[in-house]
């Protein structure tokens, strides 16, 4: 049961071929079988899930996702349920409120399976920066699942859940989706409320679906999207029914291949897989052209000024005063601050707080932060220009497939550079999806499709067409 996508389970539930309790039970059976190896979850909420499933079966809980298991990344606030951000500093944090998307899932009748592991405060590309556990890639347990939403991606790929939520600041949904062979979408900035998502970089963060196929992605996006008065940066736009965009047709669509993301640094079989994908779309009637985004090469540098700057401010509140860790070594105010933060944050988080604090300091602000904002505008303009002639843009999600655990742990710069294809999309605030498009040595490869702002529909249409004409999404990881 747990292996099927949500849309199949929904029709089985509707026809009473299966009960919600059965679905939830089979999901936990899978978790019991594989979680030891995968380590996708920080917290499991089995009791709650079974209660919710029972309510669905009794007709007391309904909605578009009634009876469907979902895993929530552990940086989204769940009232009374541990929300750790995989950080020691929040190891005991019980939020007094629900994130808006958690409320939406509740209203949709979804079943919360648990909270998934991530790189501490979503800072990382491998989930190795979690202070709690290291999640493994279901396709190869020696490899990372990607990150920062590695727990969510691995849980979906290992059938330890049906749906999952991720958050994406520089690729944190798409890259792990790519590494684990699932579908992951970062919606347009402002499409989904950020209220209750523990902030990493406020101007870049966005919540999105991580699913087994494109249809599930559209179904989940339907539930998540829409204006929220609690989030001033959410868009006052009516969210469409995304399932209507699921049409196997790319005629009249112009697909642009981003030149800068197909050259040096892109691993051979990845490049090949992308080229094949483009050919397929072309054969289905899409017009294909090469596009150049000249400022793309500055995006990683730009990102590593803006994101840490915002993070340095966002993470100031973890000071030992109100919640979470307070160092036992504290003797006075200053030692409480220093020791709490020294003990509570991991090395990557500290690195970024330092970077960001520096970039915002008096005398450096103009040269770093302000300049980065200017380059951000240039990158945005590059995209706008490309979208004058194209409906969607295409690139690999990651230049390489999943790497070995520990391989890049001590080389942050090389880790940062592996996000070259996903980061510019966040800087421009655009929507993008990653879908499975092949394998290299048994490890999945992801195809990234980028769309215009608030045009998730065209992305879904292109992704759906590709998926309908391939079988990559049906491949299951053999966990060993």
């Amino acid at each position: 049961m747990n292996k099927k996508p949500a849309h199949e389970l929904l029709s089985l539930l509707k026809n009473k071929k299966v009960s919600a309790v059965e679905i939830v039970k089979s999901t936990y059976e899978q978790i019991e079988k594989h979680e030891k190896e995968i380590s996708a979850y920080v917290t499991l909420t089995k009791e709650l899930a079974l209660k919710q499933a029972k309510a669905v079966d009794e007709g007391k809980r309904s909605g578009p996702l009634a009876g469907i298991p979902i895993a929530v990344k552990d940086n989204m606030c769940t009232k009374g349920i541990l929300t750790t951000c995989s950080s020691k500093i929040l190891h005991n944090y019980l939020p007094p409120y629900n994130a808006t998307i958690v409320e939406k899932l509740e209203a949709a009748g979804a079943i919360t399976i648990g909270k998934t592991n991530l790189d501490e405060f979503a800072m990382g590309s491998s989930t190795e920066n979690s202070a709690i556990k290291t999640t493994k890639n279901p396709w190869n347990l020696n490899c990372v699942p990607g990150g920062s939403s590695g727990g969510s991606a691995a849980a979906v790929a290992a059938d330890e859940t049906v749906l999952a939520l991720g958050s994406d600041t520089g690729g944190s949904i798409r890259q792990p989706a790519s590494f684990c062979g699932i579908v992951g979408m970062k919606p347009t900035y402002g499409r989904v409320s950020r209220y209750g998502l523990v902030a990493f970089a406020s101007s870049l963060d966005q919540i999105g679906p991580m699913t087994k196929d494109v249809r599930d992605c559209a179904i989940l996006l339907n539930v998540l999207s829409g204006y929220d008065e609690k989030d001033s940066t959410s868009a006052k736009l009516e969210a469409p029914d995304y399932t209507k965009a699921l049409i196997d047709d790319v005629k009249n669509l112009t697909v642009g291949i981003i030149d800068e993301l197909m050259g040096e640094g892109v691993e051979g079989s990845t490049k090949e897989a992308i080229e094949k994908a483009v050919k397929l779309l072309e054969s289905k009637g899409a017009k294909v052209k090469k596009v150049s985004l000249p400022h793309l090469k500055y995006s990683v540098a730009t990102y590593y000024l803006i994101a840490p700057a915002e993070a340095s401010s966002n993470l100031g509140r973890y000071d030992g005063v109100k919640y979470g860790l307070r160092s036992k070594e504290a003797k006075d105010l200053i030692t409480m601050y220093k020791n709490t933060r020294a003990e509570g944050f991991g090395p990557e988080v500290k690195r970024r707080i330092l970077l960001g604090t520096y970039a915002l300091s008096a005398g450096y602000y103009d040269a770093y932060y302000l300049k980065a904002l200017k380059v951000r505008t240039l990158i945005k303009e590059d995209f706008e220009k490309a979208f004058k002639d194209c409906d969607v843009l295409i690139s690999p999600t990651s230049p390489i497939p999943a790497f070995k655990i520990g391989e890049k742990a001590n080389d942050p710069l090389s880790m940062y550079l592996s996000d070259i294809a996903t980061i510019p999309v966040n800087l421009a605030g655009l929507p993008a999806i990653s879908i499975p498009c092949g394998f290299a040595n048994g490890l999945p490869i992801g195809l990234q499709i980028i769309g215009k702002a608030f045009d998730e529909e065209t992305i879904l249409k292109a992704a759906y067409t590709y998926e309908q004409n391939t079988n990559w999404h049906k491949e299951k990881a053999e966990i060993r």
Partner: protein
């Protein structure tokens, strides 16, 4: 004698009179149990986002309009980052490069330093900017005055997130007295337009000052110090006087003034160093990414302008010109918004400005002052005051009796009419009844009667007074006098 000129600029924090906080819907009510007016937003829980209180924007715009300022078509919130336990997010949402209001001025009246000390001079103090921000929480320490050295410290976030407006003036102020007058006039204006209750002693209005001195005639500014903790109008003047004296002494003895932040010690009445410029924070300001820009549209601004009540200065002129009140009386009436509101309510019922002003000033306000009450705290309505004035005019009660009736009404909240009928305070206008008292008074005061008869006419008033006393104020004084004169002639 002073060859130095004082230069002062002020930074004023005014708590906005909104029902709810700046970025959440918690109440701003003062005096609740600690940490009860709080939510996930104003306690800085992970994941929360601020939401702008539109009312706060409205009140800031209203202030801007009243101070002749420019309302900026686009302004931006910024984060001011620093660690302190009363600041739950470790940043304060404020405004930095693009404030909501710029320019403007307030005209004040200062004593003319020339030979005629009674004449007054009008002076324009320019406003640099006004911006919006949120207040911090409150810390309580055990075993020490400050957090350093305390056994334990507790934090109350009830005040955290309360909307504040920071008003910054140009360095246009030239004396501590001018600074005090400016603060009083500004407080008055803010109360008037209903944006702030402006009580310095309670902290709803706070003032920091930048101060320097320079040789008269020199254009360039001297080294400034920032002075804090002047939490009353009097302390503004005293604090600044102490700081001017310190600067002047240092210059005289050739010492170098260092740029630093100091505070006014209200016990010793001198200023003490808090931190030097080197110790100053780097607040790492940057635009608040969780909020969108503020772009008030023209229509809204005009709607706010329409709600702007008559400003004190205009009102004072009107009271003098339209109602014929003397300036000192007009000033007392306009000094407090609730008093002038009351006065105008009375006028609406009966157009007798002089009588109303007289009764309000001499009796009602004296009572309020005595009991430390605001006019809003009493049930005695304008209608009742008019009732009282009418009864005197009709001759139903005497002025003396009216005073007692009024006090009773103020104290008990009873109707004037009821009090009058219950106490039997109506005037004795019956000659026969008075005649008896008059005769007795003449009999008991032979000395004064003799004086009167020997030509000391004013002594008659003493005798009138005695009759009034005997009649418990119920006699009609002019009638008494007439009867006395008749009896003594």
């Amino acid at each position: 004698m002073s060859k130095y000129e004082t230069v002062i600029g002020l930074e004023i924090h005014a708590q906005l009179a909104t029902e709810s906080k700046m970025f959440c819907s918690c109440s701003t009510k003062f005096g609740a149990e600690p940490n009860t007016n709080v939510c996930e937003i104003c306690t800085g829980q992970p994941g929360v986002l601020p939401k702008i209180n539109k009312k706060a924007i409205e009140l800031a715009i209203k202030t801007g309009l009243a101070l002749n300022c420019k309302i900026e078509p686009m302004s931006v919130f910024a984060r001011k980052n620093y660690f302190y336990p009363d600041l739950p997010k470790a940043y304060q949402i404020s405004q930095y490069e693009l404030p909501i209001i710029t320019g403007g001025h307030l005209e004040i009246e200062i004593p003319n330093e020339g030979e005629n000390s009674n004449s007054r001079l009008r002076k324009k103090i320019n406003i640099t900017r006004i911006h919006l921000e949120e207040d911090a929480g409150k810390l309580v320490h055990k075993g020490a005055e400050r957090i350093m050295g305390s056994e334990e410290s507790l934090v109350d976030y009830n005040r955290g997130g309360t909307p504040l407006m920071e008003i910054v003036t140009e360095p246009d102020i030239r004396s501590p007295l001018e600074a005090k007058i400016f603060m009083e006039d500004l407080a008055h204006l803010l109360q008037y337009i209903g944006v702030c209750d402006a009580k310095m002693e309670e902290g709803s209005l706070r003032c920091d000052a930048n101060i320097s001195i320079r040789p008269v005639g020199q254009k360039e500014l001297g080294t400034k110090t920032e002075l804090k903790n002047m939490n009353s109008f009097r302390f503004v003047q005293m604090g600044l006087e102490a700081e001017v004296a310190r600067h002047t002494e240092m210059k005289a003895s050739g010492e170098k003034i260092i740029q630093e932040t100091r505070y006014f010690d209200t016990k010793t009445h001198d200023t003490k160093s808090m931190r030097s410029k080197e110790e100053a924070h780097d607040y790492r300001y940057f635009p608040e990414p969780d909020l969108v820009t503020i772009e008030p549209d023209h229509k809204w601004i005009e709607e706010i302008r329409a709600t702007l009540t008559e400003l004190p200065e205009k009102k004072r002129e009107r009271y003098i010109n339209e109602y014929g009140l003397p300036n000192p009386i007009a000033e007392v009436l306009i000094a407090t918004k609730s008093i002038s509101d009351y006065f105008e309510e009375c006028l609406k019922i009966e157009n007798k400005p002089k009588e109303i002003a007289n009764w309000m000033l001499v009796n009602v306000m004296a009572y309020l002052k005595n009991k430390n009450l605001d006019i809003k705290d009493i049930v005695f309505s304008p209608r009742e005051l008019i009732e009282l004035i009418k009864l005197i005019e009709k001759g139903t009660i005497s002025g003396t009796a009216a005073k007692e009736v009024l006090i009773k009404a103020l104290e008990t909240g009873k109707n004037i009419k009821d009090i009058v009928s219950e106490s039997g305070a109506t005037q004795i206008s019956d000659e026969g009844a008075l005649q008896q008292i008059v005769k007795e008074v003449i009999k008991n005061n032979p000395k004064q009667v003799l004086q009167f008869k020997s030509g000391k006419d004013p002594v008659i008033m003493y005798l009138v007074g005695q009759v009034m006393k005997e009649s418990k104020g119920r006699a009609k004084p002019d009638l008494v006098q007439a009867l006395l004169r008749k009896e003594l002639s």
